[in-house]
């Protein structure tokens, strides 16, 4: 871990090449800054614009925006295939420790823009570890990134508007989608004033696609079990009451070969947490980074844009990314900022944020899901910790917060470092103590000093063993 006294090579390093990161990198470069865009994938786009080589964007949203941003990367050094596993402050700014395949390298920068996005949030249920059960984003990634369907008869379930494009995409690609089972009742959302923003049009388009493929969309229902031996063969679908408790006798079994499930998103905060950025609990119950009107985190020199400062979709990510990129660029190059343009971006940010907040309020996670768990339902997939083991650590061993649960019975101690089970473990702990999930619960399951596994071989300069 060296601290270089030399002038950092880059004024701005952007982490993540999704909508927020691309917008940030291009905006920063437009001010004359020297910009590095670091991303673990081989192609830019992130999860939202995940695509295959030669993809013409036919089934992509806002593809023209992506193409314009990609073309503007000429002025940016794009470090594709680079994963940042640790970030540290230096006198001049930051050093980012990265691995690219088996090779380790360091990137020095004066300011940092974190645009690391989010991944699907999960609620465990019996059978969710069976092969053939995918996250909603995973099912979509197989299709968008690799042209592969996760199955032929697919059940889509969870909560939130993201289920719609996932199901529509699978149906359009030829899968038989047996239904979209939305646990919430988002119908009220359509009457919310901010939906006048027009984003509803997207949802209407997806619903039309689902209708064309005769895919039923059912609210207040969920996949509460997956059945099978070596792979999923059926899904248990139940009706839920308003608190997401299973309506007795309502469970029916659908024969299927894949389940795609997601209950919102969890932002990736490893890097801002490593650097000491303050967080808050967002409307959707996610831990997110605090930012100000310039997208600055609470640590000087760190900007955050996109889902890492609040889940809000690609449109909001683009605006936040541009704001972060312009401000980081203006700061490092001492150029004058265009106040009118910044004000326009801020107004757009405010509108899109209130839309996101209304959306989150329309799709809350209700506590009844805890009743879907059986004693032997796995909570932590990595360490194979069951619901009863988690409860035992709380009831018998007296754990009052998820971090204590983690120390006693190991959920979150595996390779994913609590990314999959942190939310559920927090719920289980909070529920037992008769309270809601707090920021500290999620923080206790989110600290990852090493963001990604890195081999000793890579660190010592030798090829991976």
């Amino acid at each position: 871990m060296t601290t270089s006294p030399a002038e950092p090579r880059y004024d701005v390093a952007v982490l993540g090449a999704g909508p927020a990161g691309l917008a940030a990198a291009v905006a920063a470069a437009s001010t004359g800054s020297r910009v590095a865009l670091i991303d673990s994938a081989s192609r830019p786009g992130g999860q939202f614009w995940r695509h295959r080589a030669g993809d013409d964007g036919t089934r992509q949203l806002h593809w023209d925006t992506f193409r314009a941003l990609r073309d503007a990367l000429e002025r940016v050094e794009h470090l594709a295939g680079h994963t940042v596993w640790h970030a540290e402050r230096t006198e001049q700014g930051f050093t980012l420790h990265t691995v690219n395949g088996g090779a380790a390298s360091e990137v020095a920068c004066r300011t940092l823009i974190v645009a690391t996005g989010a991944y699907d949030r999960q609620l465990p249920f019996p059978g969710w570890t069976l092969p053939g059960v995918f996250t909603a984003g995973g099912a979509q990634a197989l299709l968008k990134g690799h042209g592969v369907l996760p199955g032929q008869r697919i059940v889509v379930a969870g909560t939130g508007p993201f289920l719609l494009p996932v199901a529509a995409g699978l149906a359009e690609a030829g899968a038989r989608v047996l239904g979209v089972f939305e646990a919430g009742t988002p119908a009220r959302f359509t009457r919310h004033p901010v939906t006048a923003l027009g984003k509803l049009g997207e949802a209407v388009g997806y619903l039309r696609t689902l209708r064309r493929h005769r895919v039923p969309y059912r609210m207040r229902s969920a996949v509460v079990a997956a059945h099978g031996e070596a792979t999923v063969r059926a899904a248990g679908v139940a009706s839920l009451d308003a608190r997401w408790r299973i309506v007795p006798g309502s469970t029916r079994t659908l024969d299927c070969d894949a389940v795609a499930v997601g209950y919102g998103f969890t932002p990736q905060l490893e890097i801002p947490l490593q650097l000491g950025c303050a967080t808050r609990l967002d409307v959707d119950g996610s831990l997110v980074t605090r930012v100000d009107g310039q997208q600055r985190g609470t640590v000087p020199g760190v900007y955050v844009a996109g889902e890492a400062c609040g889940v809000g979709g690609a449109g909001l990510s683009l605006v936040e990314g541009e704001l972060a990129g312009l401000h980081a660029g203006y700061t490092t190059t001492d150029t004058r900022l265009n106040r009118r343009h910044i004000d326009r971006l801020l107004r757009r940010r405010a509108a899109l944020r209130s839309f996101a907040a209304a959306m989150h309020e329309a799709y809350p996670v209700r506590r009844g899901w805890l009743g879907w768990l059986a004693e032997d339902t796995v909570i932590c997939r990595c360490e194979e910790v069951t619901a009863s083991e988690v409860r035992r650590s709380i009831v018998d061993l007296g754990a009052t917060d998820p971090r204590a649960v983690k120390l006693y019975v190991r959920p979150g101690m595996g390779l994913c470092q609590g990314r999959m089970c942190g939310y559920a473990t927090s719920w289980l702990t909070a529920q037992h103590h008769g309270r809601g999930v707090r920021q500290d619960d999620l923080l206790g399951m989110s600290s990852r000093p090493i963001a990604q596994p890195v081999s000793l071989g890579a660190l010592s300069g030798h090829a991976d063993d």
Binding site: H146, V148, M420
Partner: protein, 91 residues
């Protein structure tokens, strides 16, 4: 789309250039290529984007590679991973 070929537990698998090992295995009809350390349960792709570490597989002798991220390459030797994939290190 160029086709490449690799081996999975000795069987031939075809993949399109650029596909991940995980995607190619799913396209070929496989769902799992790992058994868990504690209870020996089968696992395959779950998150599909490199976050959950469920799809670990041994590639050309290196265990714990994420099949969802690792691009399939011609002549790769891919093997089911038992437990932590390092049993050979145990006495």
């Amino acid at each position: 789309m160029d086709v490449i070929r690799f081996r999975f537990d000795g069987r031939g698998i075809e993949a399109e250039q650029g596909q991940s090992i995980g995607a190619a295995l799913i396209a070929a009809g496989y769902r799992s290529w790992r058994s868990t350390r504690r209870t020996g349960q089968p696992r395959g792709v779950f998150c599909g984007i490199g976050v959950c570490f469920d799809c670990l597989v041994t590639v050309n002798g290196s265990p714990n590679q994420r099949a969802c991220l690792t691009e399939a390459r011609h002549d790769d030797q891919v093997a089911t991973q038992e437990g932590a994939g390092r049993d050979h290190l145990a006495g």
